[in-house]
Amino acid sequence: MNYIPNTDADRAEMLKVVGAGSVAELFRDVPERYRFPTLALPPALSEMEVIEELNALANENDDLHHLACFLGAGAYNHFVPSVVDFLLHRSEFFTAYTPYQPEISQGTLQAHYEYQSMICALTGMEVSNVSHYDGATAAAEAVIMALQMGRGKRNKVILSPTLHPQYRAVVHTYTQGMALEIVGEDVAWVGPSAGSGSALEALAALLDKQTACVIVQNPDFLGRLYTPAEMQALADQVHAAGAQFVVSADPISLGLFVPPGQYGADVVTGEGQPMGNAISFGGPYLGFFAMKKDDVRRSAGRIVGQTVDADGQRGFVLTLSTREQHIRREKASSNICSNQALNALAAAIYMAAMGKYGLRTVAELSYHKAHYAAGLIGQIPGYEVVSRWPFFKEFVVRCPRPVATINEILLDRYGMVGGYDLGGDYPGLKDHMLLCVTEMNSKAQIDLLVEALQEVTTMNPDRLEDEAEAPHE
């Protein structure tokens, strides 16, 4: 079979046009000895042999089907029911790219509409768009929306120091060159002596008439839960200053705790990955974004709506895709109007499959298992649970050794992925580990973690022991 689409006659004509005698002449700038070097390749393999080799390579990877995972910090190991992948891989959903006449894809629009409806129910907000790239970009879009609402007169953005460090980095990236004043990331916020509300009070003290928005994560990056009353108090102060109150939330936590829509949030964003999406290697994920109806014109992204056609039958349409995103880019809230359709669909299937009570159960199991783990780890000599505040499924532990050393031993000796090393993002938290426990962690796993943490205080990583033993060989 010949895959070359042009004929000898075609090529002769093209060569004539460009004034070349042969195809080889077109490559004359490449020294002759480099043109057809002899490649030292092994003999070709059969398909069976290739699969065997690729499987062997794949088996070199560590994955969460084989390891216990206590790592969270923004990407969470929650159970994904089989129905999610089954429906997701249907070719009607899986192969379609953006339909440029969206209404022709009624199934896709209906799925998006259902996603939006469930996000609204979960966050307690009026309107949801069909998603952004991830939790970080959703937070950045919320900042840009707030700046739009401030009509260029408000150029200050207050970021909580315990908003995910990567989300804060993305906000900086999105807004670079906009001459904004971004504050709050260095307010006093943690330590056993810090009261639960003190971080929020420190943020409120930064409010003024130049402030476009305040972003707080709840539960925050360190797992801390702020009460609805604390959040409402901050929301009231934000609104008194004429600014927007943005809350970034873990969607699983919203199955159990009061949604931000009930404590004054103007925008609720977050990482949708915990709902039906694999952790993979950091993506693709989806960012959810929910707001008040009055503000949709300042938002980015797209919104699907339900209507009736000429015969009165139910149908779905792209209700809002602000025209500016397509034809007046300089006036747009954002020029990113893509969404993560397939990931949002996975989240929608997950929410529908789990239902209100299923989601609550996932949250309760995560909460109780995390508190069980924290209770035991706090009793290990040399360790201290720093999280004296209410927390959801993540908590901070001060360790007797560097977190990297502990994690290496946990992985090599116990087949466990340890917690997040906080020292990099928070210099004050050197040797502090952020542990995450979900419904996926069995009691046996947690008990083994406790045992392992106790043992690692005296162990060396394999690498170090190999080096130590070397002279005896």
Binding site: R151, R297, R323, I327, R328
Partner: protein, 135 residues
């Protein structure tokens, strides 16, 4: 095609009108402009207290067909905006010189009005534009 004109207003080449009402100047878009836009679905206006300058964008009028800037025919401070247009953008099609005024301005220099067209001159200008093939 014939369009409506308000003889009390003066007009800019970008198809906005301005009409003195006591100390204030009401600003809107002309009947010709709304016809070109077709069904208006959204209007984005400045805030009370903002300054507008003659010839500069005061906001956006978006229709099912296009999103266009509306330019202020006069300079001054915005003293009132027509908030009813949020819920009734179609008024711009129905009554462009009446209930669909966009903003009211405290003019900083009413002398600017002399640089604008009166209704007769504007009608001639519109007819000329039409002959050229419209917008």
């Amino acid at each position: 095609m014939s369009y409506k004109y308000d003889s009390k207003a003066r007009y800019a080449k970008s198809h906005e009108w301005v009409r003195l009402e006591g100390n204030a100047a009401a600003v809107g878009v002309s009947d010709y402009a709304q016809h070109l836009l077709s069904d208006v679905v959204y209007v984005d206006l400045p805030e009370v207290g903002d300054s507008v300058a003659a010839g500069e964008s005061l906001g956006t009028v978006e229709s099912v067909k296009a999103a266009e800037d509306a330019y202020s025919p006069i300079s001054g401070e915005v003293i009132e905006i027509n908030t009813a247009l949020e819920d009734h953008p179609e008024w711009i099609n129905e009554d462009p010189y009446g209930k669909a005024w966009l903003i009211k301005v405290a003019p900083s220099d009413t002398g600017e009005l002399a640089g604008l067209m009166d209704a007769v001159a504007y009608e001639a200008y519109v007819n000329e534009e039409e002959e050229k093939g419209g917008h």
